[in-house]
């Protein structure tokens, strides 16, 4: 392994995660997910498939939801990463986290951090006017999170798989937050 020059297989980089800047030397092949889990001790983001097919690794990059398993760590050096650990304070939960508890919107908990990060960003997408595949065709600018209904949430959250089958509880948890925060 060489660490400098054009043939280098490692990179020195700084990642801004949950408000902190962390310096790392990483194998260039390291995904953002592995950087978080194996190098920064942030194991809240989960590896369910490593291929962008399940959503368990979902984190926020510059406020948008991404599959961290499909993102190389070296590609997010100048961007802001927020993980499940960054959503809550030491003693307080994000409203989405609280809603998941109140609605029993998880069982084994392994998809849960990804579901919650995804849901938080999804509400912002609705606020930003993004329509979904089930939005009426004549709606080109979606009318914000208050306009979400169960079908919209189901569609927009279908990138996050839950094998325990908590979807029936995940949807109202998200709708609770969408109604409360608008």
């Amino acid at each position: 392994m060489t660490s400098t020059g054009r043939d280098s297989t490692t990179s020195e980089l700084a990642l801004r995660v949950n408000g902190e800047t962390r310096a790392l030397t990483l194998d260039n092949r390291t995904s953002l997910l592995d950087a978080l889990r194996e190098h920064l001790g942030l194991t809240g983001s989960k590896k369910g498939c490593d291929h962008g097919q399940c959503g368990a690794c979902t984190v926020l990059v510059d406020g948008r939801r991404v599959n961290s398993c499909l993102t190389l760590a070296v590609a997010v050096q100048d961007r802001t990463v927020v993980t499940i650990e960054g959503l809550s304070g030491d003693d307080s939960l994000d409203p989405m986290q609280q809603a998941f508890i109140d609605r029993d919107a998880f069982q084994c908990g392994y998809c849960t951090p990804g579901q919650i990060c995804s849901a938080v960003a999804m509400l912002d997408e609705a606020d930003a006017g993004w329509p979904s595949a089930v939005t009426a065709p004549d709606v080109t600018t979606f009318h914000g999170r208050r306009g979400l209904d169960a079908d919209e949430v189901r569609e927009r959250m279908s990138g996050n798989l839950c094998r325990c089958g908590a979807y029936v509880n995940i949807v109202p948890a998200i709708l609770d937050v969408a109604g409360a925060q608008a």
């Binding site: 490593d50 399940c54 650990e85 986290q97 908990g109 189901r154 094998r163 979807y167």
Partner: protein, 702 residues
């Protein structure tokens, strides 16, 4: 029996005690423990379906890019026989199936281990393989027993003769495909040796059997093995037995002399952790003109692997569900060059219910009897094969309650009659059942000088809510608030207990907790509550209590109703609503119980519409090896699911008066959906998953 339908969020619905840990990412799963200087292991899988490994070019990767170990059968440490050939990894040159572990690379980073594992040259001698299940396979045989320990066949009366004499007959064959458990957390292990002592954080459904297996394999004392499984990201049966990952990780850690971590990839899951066997099930139902069964036959053909035998008990549901004076059930297997099938949620009852409950729907159509009424008409007074009384059985009540909640009354039985725009609408029903399983367990309940209680038991919470339910059972027996009780589970240093499987966790662990807590409460009462600073503790086991249980037929029952919509242009099947009503003894926690039952029905929908392991005969392996090609239900697939229960006060159960609810939710769901698709379209689909192309030619679809 009292109805608790409208008390779903009542007093006994404590939120999950580990909820905050799970929503904040603090809950640690097997791969997430700090292990100083841990190396990473990556399995190498066979690329042939049958033959042997003749050599591995270890030196081509060892020492490069941080690779510190390469293991294969030629250099791996010898393991003692554990009795389970599935975990006898890297011991022989033989390749029994494609995807079997034939090597292991250990490196300082996961990236290096992964790349080296992909590059490692493995040489094979290949022989012809046979991996396709078919009903006319020449090597069909009858296993001695079926899982877990039931008779292979049962015969009462003369089913064939009675069938021939019946006024109404159904003789049809159903098929279910290979299905893969796919818990969201892939199997993973972190292993650390200190001298001859081994600690593993392992993703499993029961640490005790993992501990005992590791002790045997590595020839050390069970007391020198510690297995921690504090949080487990689902299992659905695939983590019920030790899997190659835990033995490989421990082996690698011993060889390289440092802690090792290993997580199977999603792709590797498909050949290393078991799956549900495909089934071919012939049903013969003979009834009189009113639909009363004279004859019931259920003949099952399934596959097993050469590594060991696994015989799924798919026909045993037909031994319990309905009355019929003449009956037969039978199981036959074909041994193929495939991974050994294993447990997947409700093994036996789940695939068996697709055949039985679909056939009952076909009988209802043939006899012109409403399918709910047909089931009620065939309700047995006692266990139809054992002759023993049921400890409690409320199937009929579940059917009636479900019909009411669903709005079944007045349903036009004729198929293809209801249409909304480009969608045909149909409704279907199926019964559910699952046996009550109880095994011995031990629990310790302690109180300290401050009046804080601790319940300790090596139970496992794979997402069921076991941690929460056991806390409640303990607090209730102690007569104190749940906030004064701490629960410790998921560690083999805690009192011995069985695994999280067979819907037996609460029944088994809960009984031990209840017994120990009750005894402690009695002692405290005798002492007038005056505990010294040293505290007091009680440990109790239930082996004698389980053994002393009276002879009853103990089963949970339920009824599921679904509405489907089938698009006449595309054949797309949607399930906008499902209703499930269950009678499963006492419900300890309404909140987590509801989630369990919804989760089972959700997986049942997934089985009905999506899940299908596709065997590639050429390569001898399931071709779809990831979540992009092996589909499971996503959020948008699931509509409204209305779950409720009729709480039973059954005095013949264990100390918790529970029957278990982890599996019954998936039993019958697929049949209810297929029956509803028939009602919508007039097309009877007898293979899972339901394929839209099989609907498009139907006259009703035009």
């Amino acid at each position: 029996m009292t109805s608790t339908i409208d008390r779903a969020v009542g007093a006994r619905s404590l939120a999950r005690v580990e909820g905050v840990d799970k929503v904040t990412g603090r809950a640690r799963y097997a791969y997430e423990y700090d292990a100083d200087g841990a190396a990473y292991a990556w399995p190498v899988q066979a690329t042939i379906a049958k033959g042997s490994v003749t050599g591995v070019d270890v030196d081509s990767v060892l020492g490069r890019d941080g690779v510190i170990g390469v293991l294969w059968h030629g250099n791996a440490p010898r393991l003692r026989d554990t009795g389970d050939p599935v975990v006898a990894v890297l011991q022989k040159p033989d390749v029994a199936y494609r995807g079997q572990v034939v090597g292991l690379v250990v490196a300082l980073t996961s990236e290096a281990a992964r790349e080296a594992a992909q590059q490692l040259p493995v040489h094979y001698a290949t022989t012809d393989h046979d991996s396709v299940l078919r009903a006319d396979h020449p090597s069909l045989y009858e296993p001695d027993r079926v899982n877990p320990d039931s008779d292979t066949d049962s015969v009462i009366g003369d089913a064939d003769k009675a069938f021939g004499e019946s006024a109404v007959r159904v003789d049809v064959t159903y098929r279910t495909p290979a299905e893969h458990n796919n818990p969201m957390e892939p199997h993973a292990t972190t292993a650390t040796w200190e001298g001859n002592s081994l600690t593993v954080q392992d993703s499993n459904q029961g640490g005790q059997v993992v501990r005992d297996t590791l002790a045997k394999a590595f020839a050390i004392e069970p007391g020198d093995v510690r297995v921690i499984n504090a949080h487990v990201g689902g299992g659905f049966g695939s983590k019920g037995t030790p899997r190659p990952n835990v033995v490989l990780t421990a082996m690698a850690a011993r060889v390289v002399g440092r802690p090792v971590k290993l997580a199977l990839t999603r792709q590797q899951q498909f050949s290393m952790v078991g799956y549900r066997t495909p089934t071919i099930q012939r049903m013969r139902l003979g009834a009189d003109a009113d639909g009363a069964l004279n004859s019931l036959s259920h003949d099952v053909i399934e596959q097993t692997g050469t590594t060991k035998e696994f015989a799924e008990q798919s026909a045993i549901i037909s031994r319990v569900m309905y009355a019929a004076p003449n009956r037969r059930t039978a199981h036959a297997l074909v041994t193929l060059d495939v991974p050994v099938p294993s447990w997947m949620r409700a093994p036996g009852e789940c695939p068996g219910s697709f055949a039985l409950e679909s056939a009952m729907d076909e009988l209802a159509v043939a006899a012109g009897v409403d399918p709910v009424e047909l089931r009620i008409r065939n309700e047995p007074a006692v266990d139809p094969e054992e002759g023993t009384p049921f400890s409690s059985r409320h199937l009929v009540e579940c059917l009636r309650e479900g019909a009411e909640r669903f709005g079944w009354v007045g349903r036009d039985p004729r198929p293809g009659r209801q249409r909304i725009g480009r969608w045909l609408v149909g409704s279907g029903v199926a019964s559910s059942t699952y046996p009550v399983n109880i095994v011995p367990a031990t629990a310790r309940v302690a109180v300290d000088g401050e009046g804080r209680y601790t319940v300790s038991i090596n139970a496992t919470d794979i997402g069921t809510g076991a941690r929460t339910a056991l806390l409640q059972i303990g607090a209730e027996a102690l007569g104190v608030g749940t906030d004064r009780v701490t629960i410790l589970i998921g560690d083999t240093r805690l009192p011995r207990a069985g695994l999280a499987g067979g819907s037996m966790g609460t029944n088994s662990w809960g009984w031990a907790v209840h017994k120990a807590a009750t005894k402690l409460a009695d002692q405290l009462a005798a002492m007038s509550g005056a505990v010294g600073p040293e505290g007091l503790e009680v440990t109790e086991g239930t082996a004698a209590d389980v053994k002393a249980m009276e002879s009853f037929s103990r089963h949970a029952f339920g009824a599921q109703f679904v509405e489907v919509r089938v698009n006449v242009d595309s054949g797309e099947i949607r399930v906008p609503r499902m209703v499930g009503v269950f009678a499963a003894g006492r419900i300890v926690n309404a909140r987590t119980a509801r989630s369990q039952l919804i989760g089972g029905m959700t997986m049942g929908l997934s089985m009905a519409l999506h899940e299908e392991g596709l065997m590639d005969a050429q390569f001898g392996d399931y071709a779809n090896h990831d979540l992009a090609t092996y589909h499971i239900a996503s959020n948008a697939d699931i509509g409204d699911i209305d779950v409720s229960w009729l709480e039973e006060d059954d005095p013949h159960l264990g100390g918790t008066a529970t029957k278990g609810i982890g599996e019954i939710g998936i039993v019958g769901t697929a049949a209810a959906i297929a029956n509803a698709v028939y009602h919508a379209t007039g097309v009877r689909l007898r293979s899972l998953p339901l394929h839209l192309e099989d609907l498009l030619a139907a006259p009703n679809m035009r």
